[in-house]
Symmetry: C2
Subunit: 217 residues, 2 copies
Amino acid sequence: MNGFYENKDYGSLSEKVYRFLRDGIAEGRYQTGDCLIEMKIAEELGVSRTPVREALKQLELEDLVSSHPNRGVVVKSFTSEDLQDVSTIRHLLEGQAAFWAAQRVTDEQLKELREVVELMEFYTAKNDIVHLVALDTRFHELIYEASGSRTIRHILASLHHNIRKARQSSLTLPDRAPNSLAEHLSIYQAIERRDAQTAKEQMEAHVAVAAGNRMSD
Amino acid sequence: MNGFYENKDYGSLSEKVYRFLRDGIAEGRYQTGDCLIEMKIAEELGVSRTPVREALKQLELEDLVSSHPNRGVVVKSFTSEDLQDVSTIRHLLEGQAAFWAAQRVTDEQLKELREVVELMEFYTAKNDIVHLVALDTRFHELIYEASGSRTIRHILASLHHNIRKARQSSLTLPDRAPNSLAEHLSIYQAIERRDAQTAKEQMEAHVAVAAGNRMSD
DNA sequence: GATTGTATATTTGTATACAAACGCTTGTAT
DNA sequence: ATACAAGCGTTTGTATACAAATATACAATC
């Protein structure tokens, strides 16, 4: 099958279609320039056009596809310059998120962050890349959360998908894990002692390195 | 009437409904916490639920409303902290946009920018606030354009609506016009001589002041 | 009196039917 | 042969009908 029904079955059909298409674009199953026809997708997935339309609308607002009126939607292209720009923007925003997180983090959030870092130490020792990637994502999400800024969370979540697509061909480099751990630890420690400026600088350095060799998410 | 049919009649119905609701939220016609019921809006506007759904979906993705499953969508609240955060984020991104604009601007775009600044001089002398506000918006949009970054344009356009809503009660201060002109001129000059760092700094200063007393858009 | 179960109303989620717009092909006239 | 127009097929845009989910009100039972 096409994997559609293997999705978790929580969420509405629109949600499922959305995830199916979004992942399809990120994984390259839908290529740049491909035309996404509502009817075809609906038939393939065994649903009606309505949830497909909603999914396409969402993709359009996330800038992953562009809709030509009465002509269909096509998968947008991402130049390497686009990717570069997204990295820079993420650099700016992640730094600011860390800054705010240091100022606004709650004890509960700090505890969660600490746990993530400790797990990172554990899996780094075992060189377990799969878990480390998941923990990295979790670490960053916790910081967005701790920043207390709805807007920054919103923007970074939206950028996430662009990054995924842009990154489909550039592979993860595993060797960076130990360095990555040290960086995460520095960020955590700065936040723990409420040192906003340092937290920001450490995060900027971390994102800059990650952007350079495409490791963390 | 409710003003819906006074909209320009280009664009689809969904577009028109979207603009109607978005402006309604920005202008306070829909208050924080209000429930937006598809059927009611559809009846009020004399359209079916389908375009209303699309409009609500878009508003949700712009973070202006939140949708509770099977309960309806409600207009989100904006705390003063949210507004503060949006200003900071805008500060960062506008600075970066100016930086890139200085590096990437085309002669054609430079000419347009110059024309806008000259018009600003003209209307500042006449103290014509209405035209100045429009020109200010135009100036910033041209810089987004010149930055060549699709992503930054996308994010800033989206923030624009949040800012509009958050700002509904804080009025425009007219006295700043002469200072504002000088700031725009400095930014333009830095871009003209391709001085990216200065363009960025000037823009950041400009946005910071504007955020402080709510003048420019 | 409090709690729980059921019926009902409200609202969203999805499917389908129909209309309008656009591109493309084909046919005809010059 | 080429230019232009008419017709057809494809695809989106919109309306409507129906199904599913949830809250609410009310009654029954403990």
